[in-house]
Symmetry: C2
Subunit: 337 residues, 2 copies
DNA sequence: TTGAAAGCGCTAACAG
DNA sequence: CTGTTAGCGCTTTCAA
């Protein structure tokens, strides 16, 4: 131990073979005499050998890690307590571990941070990037593309760019919510939208409004939120001010829906009796809320896994044309609507 | 680009100097003629050079990454949606980025996964490990120690081991809760403990009971939970069954406290009028709960940062003796008690 | 099937 | 202050 970790050389010496042979058995290459394999394996055991990753990476040009970057967040690091990002992380980690790949967590919430991410990838510290953007104007995807870094996005980028991504059909999700509320006989329906500079928010709103229009409601009272509890509460207050007789609201995520429920209750309204509330995501707050939230489920973990899969594939065979995978949302009916 | 990324050699050629000189300016070493520095910098700019991390690591024996491992969790990957782990992650990421170090996320929820973590570190894929264990019997700390991997723990390990760790004074936290409840005139006080195979749970409970005893309450109705909302709800039901007249409960984390509030309300009890509830952690659910939770705050982000700091220090100067840093908890009074 | 040898790109003595 | 020169530990032709 005092002389440093054992190397291929050490193992080779003990086994009485060449470095090349040891390397072959370590990497499971065929064409090695079974008997020698045995000898080598013993030598490995005996020396406690473990291949040096840096040395291997230097020649293979692969690190076995990918960057998982949360980009564009002005929110700093409380993104990690956002249930949505937690689910993305869970999905990514779960999938990658099956392939012996590990995610390096990075926050790209400033221009400098973005440059660091690009540098990190250019240095070959990771083989590719998994990108979750929170703003449509996020410049990172383009920079990654320009740097020739393999990257896959969670959600359609603000401006078209030849990069693969996974997404959910947000418009369909909005429609699901509208249909449910109208079918329940609600007639005074408003919505708390997500930040409108995010494509997902725009789409959820568009889908919701379209469906409402088809149901005979040309105008839908709307308040914009920022996907946080605070912004959701404020939006609910505004909605209530504009439309005191409101009897249903569709919020663009569960956090805002939960906040809306609190505000409504504080105003003496019962949920769902007086006002029905539908959320979006189906993450932890939907269940923690009282009443539990009826919500549009987004299969975040599956989507995150698909995103990771896409990246691994593009690492396997580079030069493929970008692909997109769109998931279907699903209405989960609980007590709030 | 088609010929691979530019190397030190390329830059040296363009600048008309030796590789060594380029290396020196890249690494900010002193003793380089300012004029030459300029020339080299231009050459770097011109070639778009970016140092190859694998090559560098091979010689420096440093990767600039550390493993952030969540260990012992039987819970699989939903740990990522646990607000507690989110805060740990946030604290770690925030601190490490200041030092140009990045965390690799790993889950060590099975024996195989633990072996993979050890292998990962032994291969030099990361310079050290930041370990958050969920069980006191977690064998990972010992294995890491045996493998000679620099590691720092979040929370005191189940069995003493010469490894640094950060922790909060759980007993003091328990005392804070007891004192507050008693001072508020509550007389029928119970507690929902965390899983008792976790030192933190034991300590919170011990501190709580001690203080209660000092206040003249030798027996405290106790129900064990598992730090999850479900287990908290079940524990509350048991407590209610054993002690229908209960007028206060201290839960070992906010998730369980929130669940307790729901159960109490479902039983027609008002919080805090009929039953006061105190949580532990002061994480998101404390604020999302109605009424908002009075809780014992654990400065998780600061603790996580301190843990990362400890690791970086031990990487800087190896062979130091292990250290521990204990934080003081703080009572945050809100509406629930 | 196995071994010899040539690097991968970089840092760090060691000279000069 | 700068260049030369050894490797770091591994994979991978290329011969044998």
């Amino acid at each position: 131990m005092s002389k440093g970790a054992p190397t291929l050389e050490d193992v080779a010496r003990v086994a009485g073979v060449s470095r090349a042979t040891v390397s072959r058995v370590v990497n499971g290459t065929r064409n090695v005499d079974p008997q020698l394999q045995e000898t080598v394996r013993n030598a490995i055991e005996q020396t406690g050998y473990s291949p040096n990753r840096a040395a291997r990476s230097l020649v293979t040009r692969r690190t076995g890690t990918v960057a998982l970057v949360i980009s564009g967040a002005g929110g700093g690091s409380d993104v990690f307590t956002d249930p949505f990002f937690g689910r993305v992380t869970a999905g990514v980690v779960d999938f990658l571990r099956l392939h012996g790949v590990h995610p390096v967590l990075m926050l790209a919430d400033s221009d400098q941070a973005r440059s660091e991410v690009v540098e990190f990838l250019r240095q070959g510290s990771a083989d590719g990037a998994l990108l979750v953007s929170t703003h449509s104007a996020d410049p990172l995807p383009a920079r990654l593309l320009a740097a020739g870094v393999p990257a896959v996005l969670y959600a359609r980028p603000g401006t078209p760019i030849p990069l693969s991504y996974v997404d959910v059909d947000h418009q369909a999700g909005g429609r699901l919510a509208a249909d449910h509320l109208v079918a329940a006989g609600r007639a005074n329906i408003g919505t708390i939208a997500g930040p409108l500079d995010v494509p997902a928010s725009q789409d959820r709103l568009a889908g919701f409004r379209d469906a409402m229009a088809r149901h005979g409601f040309p105008y839908v009272p709307t308040a914009e939120g920022g996907f946080t509890a605070e912004s959701g509460a404020a939006a609910m207050e505004r909605l209530l001010a504009e439309c005191p007789g409101i009897d249903a609201v569709f919020a663009a995520n569960d956090l805002m829906a939960q906040a809306a429920v609190f505000v409504l209750q504080a105003h003496g309204k019962r949920v769902p009796e007086d006002v029905a509330v539908v959320g979006f995501d189906d993450s932890a707050p939907a269940l923690a809320c009282r009443p539990q939230l009826t919500t549009v489920r987004q299969p975040v973990e599956d989507m995150a896994a698909a995103m990771a899969d896409l990246l691994l594939e593009s690492l396997e065979k580079p030069g493929q044309r970008p692909r997109s995978i769109i998931f279907e949302p699903e209405l989960v009916v609980r007590a709030s609507a």
